[in-house]
Symmetry: C2
Subunit: 410 residues, 2 copies
């Protein structure tokens, strides 16, 4: 098993994998109102001008701007108010010289008006007239036809992931359905003779399977669809069958593969059976998470995650999460949720290996503080009782109490 000792860093491992991963090409048409987080398949151009008519952006009076030129507090321009155009109503008024129409925010102007005087810049003169105290320029306090977007404008490029305001932007133009890429599906297999499903009381020597469900929850958080294949014992044929079911029903496969040497070898053998090029690497220079396997079977990425929960989560975030992003076709950078904090204790580390250490966060004197949790990485409550992870870079011999660190929140 010489390749196990030829270890790569997590980012090198991802570089090895990246050329084999392609965005999902299948598409589906969905209502725009349900498209949050989905990835746009084709470019979208505007079918019309937005707004479709010039709108007032203030409460006041629509006017012909030239009628206000020279107006001042001492010499106001007197205007006759000939109409009131409510918001939402069509205007059928044309102004003559010295005439104005009441305008509302979002409402139409009079037909030949080209500006709006804010109500605060006017005062009533008599029942039907106002005095304008300052001139307005043409276009002032008006949102012009097509000022937001014009018919034919590029609205969205392919690969854009939809945010709340994008839903609004599409609906504003009447685009109530869009074509998006199918969400990636990730199959999950947990292997090990010691595992029973979580609703079974384990007999002596056995434990409940948890990685299936922590991995499924992370897959869902990444915007993909988890496909739970179930448990497989430490035997080659059942594992191969489970893996085949996984890649038939999904775009990627995660094996929570146990950490003993024999089970790691079996996972590598299974992955090599599934397609080409097979296992890319076996082991990465990281703690915890070293016994990780990365493979590709005919375009589908396969991951053998270490069985212990801390390692599985660390490796998921470094390799599986960015893979899901590539599969999803989303072009935007991944969102990271980090907090800057002061480290409260030294963290020793070996140079040449990235370490990931769970920390708890607390606040004192208005300053966030990160305290390392040096629990064993095979204890799930090490993760439960912490708020995030900090990375000790490979080129450092450790971190010191008092250093400023960046905590990746779960």
């Amino acid at each position: 098993m010489p390749e196990f000792f030829n270890v790569r860093s997590p980012s090198q491992a991802f570089d090895d994998l990246r050329p084999h991963i392609f965005a999902i090409s299948e598409r589906e048409t969905i209502p725009t109102t349900s498209a949050l987080g989905r990835v746009i398949a084709d470019q979208i151009r505007s079918p019309e001008d937005l707004p479709s008519f010039p709108k007032s952006s203030m409460d006041g009076f629509s006017v012909r701007a030239r009628d206000t030129f020279g107006a001042s507090e001492t010499l106001p321009a007197m205007m006759e108010v000939v109409a009131d155009i409510p918001t939402g109503a069509e205007s059928d008024v044309e102004l003559s010289v010295g005439e104005a129409a009441v305008a509302y925010t979002g409402g139409m102007l009079a037909g030949n008006a080209d500006a709006v005087v804010m109500i605060e810049r006017t005062q009533p003169a008599d029942d039907t007239s106002i005095e304008i105290l300052r001139p307005v320029a043409p276009g002032e306090n008006v949102v012009n036809e097509g000022e937001d977007v014009r018919a034919g404008d590029l609205l969205f490029s392919p690969s854009h992931a939809i945010r709340p305001q994008d839903i609004g932007g599409l609906l504003a133009l009447g685009i109530t359905e869009i074509e998006v890429l199918r969400r990636p599906r990730v199959a999950i297999v947990s292997t090990g003779d010691e595992l029973v499903p979580p609703d079974v009381s384990p007999p002596p020597g056995k434990i409940r399977d948890i990685n299936t469900y922590t991995v499924a929850a992370r897959v869902a958080q990444c915007g993909a669809e988890p496909v739970v294949i179930g448990l497989a014992p430490d035997e080659y044929e059942p594992q191969l069958q489970a893996a085949r079911r996984g890649i038939q029903s999904a775009d990627a496969l995660v094996f929570s593969a146990g950490s003993s040497l024999s089970t790691r070898d079996m996972t590598a053998d299974v992955f090599n059976q599934l397609g080409n090029p097979g296992v890319l690497l076996h082991g990465i220079s990281i703690k915890p998470g070293k016994p990780t396997i990365v493979a590709v079977a005919d375009g589908k990425p396969l991951f053998g995650l270490p069985g212990n929960p801390v390692s599985a989560l660390v490796v998921f975030d470094l390799l599986v999460a960015p893979t899901i992003r590539l599969l999803s076709g989303a072009s935007s950078p991944p969102t990271t949720n980090t907090v800057e904090a002061i480290l409260t204790a030294d963290i020793p580390s070996e140079s040449g290996r990235e370490d990931y250490v769970p920390v708890t966060l607390s606040k004192s004197d208005g300053q966030a503080r990160a305290t390392p949790v040096f629990g064993k990485s095979n204890l799930i409550y090490t993760l439960v009782n912490s708020h995030g992870l900090i990375q000790v870079p490979a080129d450092s011999g450790g971190l010191y109490a008092g250093e400023r660190v960046s905590v990746n929140l779960y």
Copy 2:
């Protein structure tokens, strides 16, 4: 309408509102596997020890530690291998002096073994014997019974929001159902005579409603359930009826209320009819978003958001999102997604008012740069064509090109 000019800052506004908001008390029992993001209702204690038996954390040999004392490369301890205890199997072996049993990561030890020697610290002697090259201490390479958690330990306090590893931690102990707080429901009403539903082609003077759907998407992003009530015209009775339907079916109400003076007044009147204490404040010292109304009706928070989309989003994030968090009962801090960047242009601002300016992000020379988008806040594509918002603090006269700023990503 004097209260409109007695403006509060966004954080003062939230301070005014906070004493009126209580976490939802209704509970529901759901499968643990579906609990991601949900808020735990009661404290949860462990029903059992985890692990339930001492486990090996290495591949190697379980031994009685005292049998290895004094072992070295030059004077190895010879041990008879009397059993092989596969992972998942119950051990029925007791070791005598000088005996060892093959142990696997995650597997049981021999009955009276108290340590595991890593396979790398042994060498085969003959077919049934090994040489141990280093001593082990009692407990070495063993995860003890109850080392992760003990029966009766507090696992989770009420108000904890479930993360992927928490699902694992619960399932590891056989807790397959949990009691959680009901998700907050937020009713949404868009008002305005100018609005038509997005699937209707608007006649002249009218526009498609978009705020209902951008707000609904943000509500969903915050982990709450949007309840779309629909459109109401600029008339008191229909708005009151829509608002009543909203607070009957939800825990909070958002009115996307238009920005003209008359519609703001109507929203305030409607809110004052719904319950006590009614309108808390009308207007906040922020741009965009000044014409915001905050009210409470018999324990239910009510928000009148400005009709224009940029303002609505800014105010949602400052007031509605933290309100949803309080309603949800979650104790953990809100997650924020920010990027540090260098500002590429000056942003003038008035002191005494918080400004929020959309920016686009780009990278040059390895440095993130934020470029202000000075679009009008009533253009939805100002938001669509930007990546996040920066805040210009109230006590500053603006920000300068070259300054380091923190961008809140959408």
